[in-house]
């Protein structure tokens, strides 16, 4: 198996996974979405809320705020030794907020949350949580915990985790008369004419829409589009709590652990039978 990174920009990565299979890519994709842990607010204790939104609505909004995640310092509450419902310093980070609108309407932002651990903070400080009218007050304490996307989408570290097959576009040069119809038909502008010959410029961008095949006036079409399902183009965009690279590494780690577990169990079973 081989990985070639095409683009890595901010939170998103695009790479080619070659000599692989859709089954492997899908396993990776599903783990990224539902099993890579990340931090999110889970419990909120309201001391005062005279705002227009009720406690549950605010708690829900707080939960959705992506938090920077430190996977080395925290463990999942289920795996923590404390076995406490409220958690301990190994499995939760505490945030407090106390805002009162005194002079006029005030927007409460994610940046107003004060976390006890400096490594945990909102990905963006500009997310509006609520607006307060004069004399309205909001005061609460929130516990952020690690969790997985399996349980709630707020713990999903990625916005996009998708792959597609590597397109394979061939032009039959014996039949093609470079009439340009397919070049104009392509919505992604992948085909170009160079010296009266149609050439494929950027096959990775192809969406396998078949417009070029359908547009060709020749019968049968001089353009042939197929795909290679052992080479996959993977698109990954993280929400920001973990970088796309961290998500990918953690996902491969989890997949490896799962595979080892299966081989171990199979070996035990095989041993008993013989």
């Amino acid at each position: 198996m081989e990985v070639k990174v095409l683009e890595a920009e901010g939170n998103s990565v695009r790479f080619i996974l070659s000599q692989s299979s859709p089954a492997f890519a899908n396993a990776l994709r599903r783990i990224m979405i539902s099993e890579v842990p990340c931090m999110a607010i889970e419990d909120v204790f309201f001391y005062e809320n005279t705002s227009t939104l009720d406690d549950e609505t605010i708690a829900h909004r707080l939960g959705l705020i992506p938090l920077t995640t430190d996977l080395d310092s925290y463990v999942l509450p289920e795996e923590c030794e404390c076995k406490s419902e409220m958690g301990c310093s190994r499995c939760r980070a505490t945030a407090t907020l106390e805002v009162e609108a005194l002079d006029g309407r005030k927007t409460v932002y994610s940046g107003d949350l004060k976390f006890d651990d400096p490594h945990i903070r909102p990905v963006s400080d500009k997310i509006p949580i609520i607006k307060l009218e004069v004399n309205q007050k909001l005061k609460f304490e929130a516990y952020a915990k690690l969790g997985t996307g399996k349980k709630h989408a707020k713990w999903q570290p990625v916005a996009v985790a998708a792959y597609k097959y590597m397109p394979n576009i061939r032009i039959n040069l014996k039949k093609c008369d470079a009439c340009r119809v397919c070049v104009d038909a392509c919505p992604k502008n992948i085909l170009q004419v160079e010296k009266d010959v149609i050439v494929v410029v950027d096959p990775v961008s192809c969406t396998l829409c078949y417009e070029c095949v359908k547009a060709c006036p020749q019968d049968p079409s001089a353009v042939d589009v197929s795909w290679d399902d052992t080479t996959l183009i993977f698109n990954l965009e993280s929400v920001g709590g973990l970088s796309a690279k961290q998500v990918l590494f953690k996902a491969t780690e989890i997949l490896k652990k799962k595979a080892e577990e299966v081989t171990k169990k199979l070996a035990v079973k095989g041993g008993k039978q013989t």
Partner: protein
């Protein structure tokens, strides 16, 4: 304003205020979304179709919030 996109889960809440003020300032909404890096149409519709009604609710709540404590 929703914190995340309903469909993909991407963060959009932090882009709302800039989007609103720039569009109100006369800029083309599509171009503002491009410059904010909102590329997918699921996230774009979140910002384009959102209507902030909290200000109106606040206007109403004024009458019910105690003036002094």
């Amino acid at each position: 304003m929703p914190v995340r996109c309903f469909t993909c889960g991407g963060l959009i809440g932090d882009k709302w205020e800039e989007f609103r003020s720039r569009v109100d300032g006369g800029e083309d909404a599509g171009k503002v979304l491009d410059s904010l890096g909102v590329t997918r149409y699921c996230c774009r519709r979140m910002l384009l179709s959102h209507l902030d009604i909290l200000d109106e609710i606040l206007e109403f709540s004024k009458k019910f919030t105690k003036g002094s404590r």
